[in-house]
């Protein structure tokens, strides 16, 4: 009797202790955060334990992107800890980014004490109100007795089904109050039970279509990566079994290896000629874990007009949202792919080999167009050449890449060769400039001995460059490789396409000296502007045991092709060697100009 009472008493903890204990029970080893008044009790508790390491960032947005990088490179849930008011509002961009790219994240925010809520107290904001539309779910913890349950529930919601960010807002008095701890095994969610297995009838219908396809194509996305490495293996197996060509979205790169013989490259606005034409001309599209984003489809009424479409997605809202499909399958990509592989093997269908041969011959004709060719230059580093060189020098290394957003991001997606999932961290849905540097911090925390490179642009870098201090403090040897063209290149490219080459505010005047800037942070700064020196300089960068800012001076006016101009279908692409001053101005029609 007394023993059990003692047990009960030993489970009485204060709110801050409950938070740390619950995080530890969830297997959390790293938290990205920034202290402040409303989270002092939690930070005090952090100070007195060793199980969980805290990574001090320099801005809360940095914490959220670092957690995203951590999550995307490990498959685990990223954890963020911020204070009330500005701490929480600074996290909003990263939360939205994680929502759009389906990244599992739990963000704990401090809140003013419960009695002060609603009084416009110092550093008070309506965190759950502000974050409601940019999270998968959020909680305001009003009683310490709910705290442990809510934390375990938050991890469950963040990581199950289609992953996403979850905010837990904890008022300061709840952090001090004493309550009971509940282990995660005691938690069962009442309402949220995602469907993992696909409908068997639908899977059979899909296999029927696949067995009879003459011009099939796999179109895969981030859902395959989110379903874990096993899903990527199953995808590779299914591609091998069927011998169909495969393309992927920006978020899905690495699920199928770039060296695979069926690989077409990325599709979409800056995708390859062969991938986009295969999508346009196919008679069967097998969409696995992608969501028909506008960067993929282009002009909708001309999107793959003659194909049957199979759509596998864990989120029912993705199905028939943009494009009507013939066979919808709601379920986890891994589970569904497993069932499809099994069914295909069981049936061992006799495919139309002749038709498939003709289809691949056609694809070879498109490939021969060499859409990623560019005019090389022996005086100036072409940005494409820079990425190709980076790829060549890192090929056999244990490398992770992150990017910011813009031209450099698209070049990285086009010219890097991803062989494995979880090696590529980029902001796809929200397109957040300033994502890559903090994301690299998160990746390096998770993989301290790997090579982590943030491919950056001069403008994007400056959006979150304060995180260099984070890398220095925590001994994270990230390499920031800036394709410096002194422009916000992608915005400029659109001004050239849409606005008569009037470059409104896209020239980055007064850029800092990036080499001196690196020194100011205590990091190593490097600069290279000669094509023949680049490979050596990259090798040197890789060998430096510490953070590096690499100022790679590239051709200022290079643009990113191929490109599907907005308002155009897949088969009307602009290719690098076709673009001249005249047609670049006419590429987008009047209505296309209003698009983003």
């Amino acid at each position: 009797m007394s023993a059990s009472k003692q047990d009960l008493e030993s489970q009485q903890l204060n709110g801050a202790e409950i938070i740390l204990k619950a995080l530890a029970e969830q297997g959390v080893s790293h938290v990205f955060g920034y202290p402040g008044g409303a989270v002092l009790p939690i930070y005090d508790e952090l100070f007195q334990q060793e199980e969980i390491q805290h990574v001090l960032v320099r801005h809360e947005q940095g914490a959220t992107h670092a957690a995203e990088g951590y999550a995307r490179s490990t498959g685990k849930c990223g954890v963020v800890l911020v204070t009330s008011g500005p701490g929480a509002t600074n996290a909003v961009t990263g939360l939205t980014d994680a929502l759009l790219d389906s990244i599992p994240m739990v963000c704990i925010s401090g809140q003013v004490p419960t009695p002060l809520i609603g009084s416009d107290a110092f550093q008070e904001c309506d965190t759950v109100g502000i974050t409601r539309p940019c999270t998968k779910h959020n909680y305001l913890v009003k009683s310490v007795d709910d705290l442990a349950r809510i934390i375990h529930e938050a991890f469950y919601v963040a990581t199950s089904g289609r992953p996403g960010p979850v905010v837990i807002d904890v008022p300061k008095d709840v952090q001090f109050a004493t309550g009971e701890y509940l282990g995660k095994e005691n938690i069962a969610h009442k309402t949220y039970v995602p469907k993992m297995d696909g409908d068997a009838v639908a899977i059979e219908a899909a296999i029927d279509l696949m067995a009879n396809a003459k011009k099939p194509v796999f179109y895969t996305g981030g859902g395959v990566i989110n379903a874990g490495p096993h899903a990527s293996e199953l995808l590779r197996e299914l591609v091998e079994l069927t011998d169909f060509p495969i393309t992927s979205t920006l978020m899905g790169l690495g699920a199928y290896p770039a060296s695979g013989k069926n690989w077409l490259g990325m599709l979409g606005m800056h995708g390859t000629y062969e991938a986009n034409l295969a999508m346009h001309d196919c008679d069967l599209m097998i969409c696995v874990g992608a969501r028909f984003d506008d960067r993929i489809t282009g002009r909708l009424d001309a999107f793959s007009p003659n194909s049957k479409k199979i759509h596998i997605d864990i989120d029912r809202t993705s199905i028939n949202k943009i494009v009507k499909v013939d066979v919808p399958i709601v379920g986890d990509c891994g589970h569904v792919l497993e069932a499809m592989v099994k069914e295909w093997k069981k049936r061992n269908p006799s495919v139309d080999k002749l038709a498939l041969k003709k289809w691949f011959d056609q694809i070879d004709v498109w490939k021969a167009r060499q859409c990623l060719a560019y005019k090389d230059n022996s005086d100036v580093i072409m940005p494409q050449f820079a990425i190709e060189t980076l790829q060549a020098r890192t090929e056999n290394k244990d490398t992770y890449f992150t990017t910011e957003v813009g031209q450099h991001q698209m070049w990285a997606a086009q010219y890097l060769k991803f062989e494995q999932p979880n090696r590529w961290m980029t902001s796809g849905g929200l397109g957040t400039m300033g994502y890559g540097l903090p994301a690299a911090v998160g990746v390096q925390v998770a993989h301290p001995n790997s090579l982590v490179i943030d491919i950056s642009g001069d403008a994007s870098f400056m959006m979150n460059m304060q995180e260099m201090a984070t890398a220095m403090q925590h001994g994270l040897p990230i390499k920031v490789f800036i394709l410096n063209n002194q422009y916000m290149g992608m915005v400029r490219q659109w001004q050239q396409l849409l606005h008569g080459n009037r470059l409104s505010e896209t020239y980055t005047e007064a850029l800092p000296d990036f080499v001196d800037l690196a020194k100011a942070f205590g990091a190593t700064g490097m600069r290279c502007s000669k094509p023949d020196e680049l490979a050596g300089a990259i090798d040197e960068m890789i060998d430096i045991d510490g953070p590096v800012i690499f100022d790679c001076r590239v051709a200022n006016l290079a643009n990113c092709f191929p490109m599907i101009p907005s308002g155009a279908p897949h088969n009307e692409m602009l290719l690098d060697d076709e673009v001249n001053d005249e047609n670049i101005g006419d590429a987008i029609g009047v209505d296309g100009k209003s698009l983003v």
Partner: protein
């Protein structure tokens, strides 16, 4: 010139395509956990994604289990209505969603309180019409009545229309509550 060009421009992902699908009005019943913010989630979904809310009724229906029922009347094309339903089901504290219009023949009722002020013939006529509509007098003064009327929205509309020339002062309406016919209950 630009006008003509516009007409000939292709449609795109972003263009508001000419809608040939018919707009339908549907009644959705949504079972939710009665927790703080759940209504804001539902309403935020509609405003954030540009859907319509025509009517909205919310109340706790199972006190011990903290369950509320939300009745929403919304309108859109069949594709939009399918999206709305899927989006609602995705909200974490939502237990289940039932499209009562698809189920067919659901019972829909609404309550209104109607204040009418007047004297003489108008007053007599208002009272006579209230009787015909089975509206109850819930407050009376020498110069006014408050009627309580329950029924389908169409009946309530009709009653209000008739009261207008008779001295209608103000109206409050609950929005509809709806339930399916037959022995089955909604999944909780």
């Amino acid at each position: 010139m630009t006008q003509e060009e516009k007409v000939n421009q292709p449609a795109s992902a972003y263009f508001i395509e000419e809608n040939t699908e018919k707009i339908e009005q549907h009644t959705l019943s949504v079972v939710v956990d009665n927790e703080p913010g759940v209504l804001a989630r539902v309403i935020g979904l509609f405003s954030g994604r540009g859907y319509n809310i025509e009517q909205l009724t919310v109340s706790e229906t199972m006190h011990m289990r903290h369950i509320s029922r939300i009745t929403i009347v919304t309108s859109g094309t069949p594709a939009v209505l399918e999206q709305i339903r899927a989006q609602l089901e995705r909200i974490v504290p939502v237990h289940s969603v039932l499209d009562l219009t698809v189920e067919g023949d659901a019972i829909e009722r609404e309550l209104a309180l109607v204040k009418v002020a007047g004297s003489g013939d108008n007053r007599v006529e208002a009272l006579r019409l209230a009787e015909a509509f089975r509206a109850r007098v819930v407050d009376a003064s020498s110069a006014s009545f408050v009627f309580e009327i329950t029924g389908k929205s169409r009946k309530v509309n009709q009653f209000i229309e008739l009261m207008k020339p008779l001295g209608l002062i103000e109206v409050v309406r609950t929005g509809i509550s709806a339930i399916s016919r037959g022995p089955e209950a909604m999944k909780v």
